[in-house]
Symmetry: C2
Subunit: 144 residues, 2 copies
């Protein structure tokens, strides 16, 4: 049995984060020692590792919640898991597209700065007026 600190070390997750996951129902309430300290077994470690890795791949906690409940039903079709993963891929693609547009605009802005005074600075000018921009980085404001 692992204390919360050992579990955190083993899974690469900080202790307060583990308690947070328990609080929001992502991890089940574990056993307690005589002194009221949490004690975890192997399955908790696996579950936490699953959560951590999913977070590293950018899945939101709600998606992870769904993935976990899917993984508890091994006989079912994995179509639902597929959909979640594809949604995540689409979200990542959208972010990359947006960030790439931002990057181009930032580079253009920085390249045009002549290192003079604020009054002449292209960076300040461009920030004040989108018409100085070359691209439509305004699209898909929802994502970032």
């Amino acid at each position: 049995m692992l204390t919360i600190g050992k579990l955190g070390n083993a899974a690469g997750v900080k202790v307060p984060t583990i308690r947070y996951y328990e609080q929001i129902g992502l991890l089940p309430e574990p056993e307690r020692s005589a002194g009221n300290q949490r004690l975890y077994g192997k399955s908790a470690l696996e579950r936490l590792a699953f959560i951590r890795h999913s977070r590293e791949l950018g899945f939101p906690l709600e998606a992870i919640r769904d993935l976990l409940s899917l993984s508890d039903r091994p006989d079912q079709s994995c179509a639902a898991a597929d959909i979640i993963a594809k949604d995540q891929l689409a979200a990542v693609d959208a972010r990359i597209a947006r960030l790439t547009a931002l990057k181009a605009e930032l580079e253009r802005m920085i390249a045009q700065c002549a290192q003079g005074t604020i009054a002449d600075c292209r960076i300040i000018k461009v920030l004040g007026d989108h018409s100085h921009c070359s691209q439509d980085h305004r699209i898909s404001e929802a994502v970032e």
Copy 2:
């Protein structure tokens, strides 16, 4: 003079967001009408447009605060503005790098799924164990 709704329309910013910017000191407190409603002039519109465009380019509000105070001192060197913009570009680059690694891993994962049961699903397997991954998407966890 513009009411808050007209200002929001003109700048493309929602009304509660304008009040929020005022609350955190990013916009100065405007005049009020006899009935206590906010009234804005041209300079407030310019300032708000600057904020909006900077947000669209991904600058955090604290950076925008600094940029605004720079733009109030037209005679100064723009070196500080340059640094802020370059920092932002570096942050965008880091995010793109991380997201690109995630994208590759997600695509690999999805491609390997044979559309069978959860028990055999590569998506679930990979999420449970990073050693199934081909890349080090773990690096630079701080950013996303």
